[in-house]
Symmetry: C2
Subunit: 193 residues, 2 copies
């Protein structure tokens, strides 16, 4: 997705070996117009997949997932990273380790929102080690629902997540794929859409 | 906002003395169409206020804040509840106690996204004790920016938050105002929009 790659080149900041900071348009301040375009592209990629729900994890996945859900005219569900006292009913959970935040969280979705009649598109902001998406696959599997695909805004292709997810047989659609950081600059490989 | 009140009556669940669970359309599964309408109503209420940024806190505030930002054609910023290793620069922080989650969090916004030239509309999903909005007011004040108003999706008017915020002199616009829970049912008082 050229619009996204251009924005990453313009506003992304490479930190150290493997971190890309995109807090001016995706992970902290959000550019709704770019998110809308991302939603349209992901919706187009899965338009014939019979998607009934878009699922993401709080918090940075919510904006792209919401516009994808809008473009597909289905509800969006965001998995929770911490339990709270209003989650009292049947809860599906998975353990997810975040390399960025260096903590393991229990990610959860209320079971009533997913059933074996659902076909899910997972959407997330980053694919690095694939732990978040793997946790979502696990939860959605517990519900007996099908996952038709995983839509990713930015993939760090030099990390292990893409391979991990492809081994599950679920298609991955990454809108920007980063091959490497060279001298502090982002180098892309061909994106999926 | 009648559409919202009707949805609360239809799909909201009263838990115990003071908790309203709206996880089927706002806090877990999200109905984008309703969020869009909420965004339009809040944008209309502050259309002449010269808003330059919409600010919320992760995670349930993101959807209504995003559509409000879209309707006003400005960026949305979501304050973070936990620091992560990509937040390295100047950070503005405030302590916020969540009665729902029973924890105190440090809420933060990168200082580069707010300046004294900004006029902010705060948007949040719930107003109960007002701690989240108070924390945001504090952070935005640290940046020297002005707050033109606070847009709330659901206000529990029987709790102290509304009064706390009104004492700061900042206008509050709540789209649904709950006077009380009577026999497990929601009773509204007149909303602000």
């Amino acid at each position: 997705m050229k619009l996204l790659e251009d924005r990453i080149l313009k506003d992304g900041n490479v930190l150290g070996e493997d971190i890309l900071k995109v807090d001016s348009f995706l992970t902290h301040q959000v550019d709704y117009e770019l998110m809308q375009e991302i939603g349209k592209v992901l919706a187009e990629a899965y338009k014939d997949a019979g998607i009934t729900k878009v699922v993401t994890i709080e918090a940075s996945g919510i904006a792209p997932a919401l516009y994808t859900a809008q473009a597909m005219n289905v509800p969006m569900i965001f998995a929770k990273k911490a339990k709270n006292i209003t989650m009292t009913e049947g809860i599906l959970t998975a353990e997810v380790y975040s390399f960025t935040k260096r903590v393991t969280s229990t990610v959860s979705i209320a079971s009533k929102f997913l059933s074996e009649d659902d076909t899910v598109l997972i959407v997330d902001d980053f694919l690095a080690n694939g732990q978040a998406a793997k946790g979502l696959l696990e939860i959605i599997g517990q519900a007996g629902a099908k996952v038709a695909g995983i839509g990713i805004v930015i993939e760090k292709s030099f990390q292990t997540g893409r391979k991990l997810l492809e081994e599950t047989g679920v298609p991955v659609t990454s809108l920007a794929r980063i091959k490497e950081f060279k001298d502090g600059q982002v180098v892309f490989t061909e994106a999926d859409a």
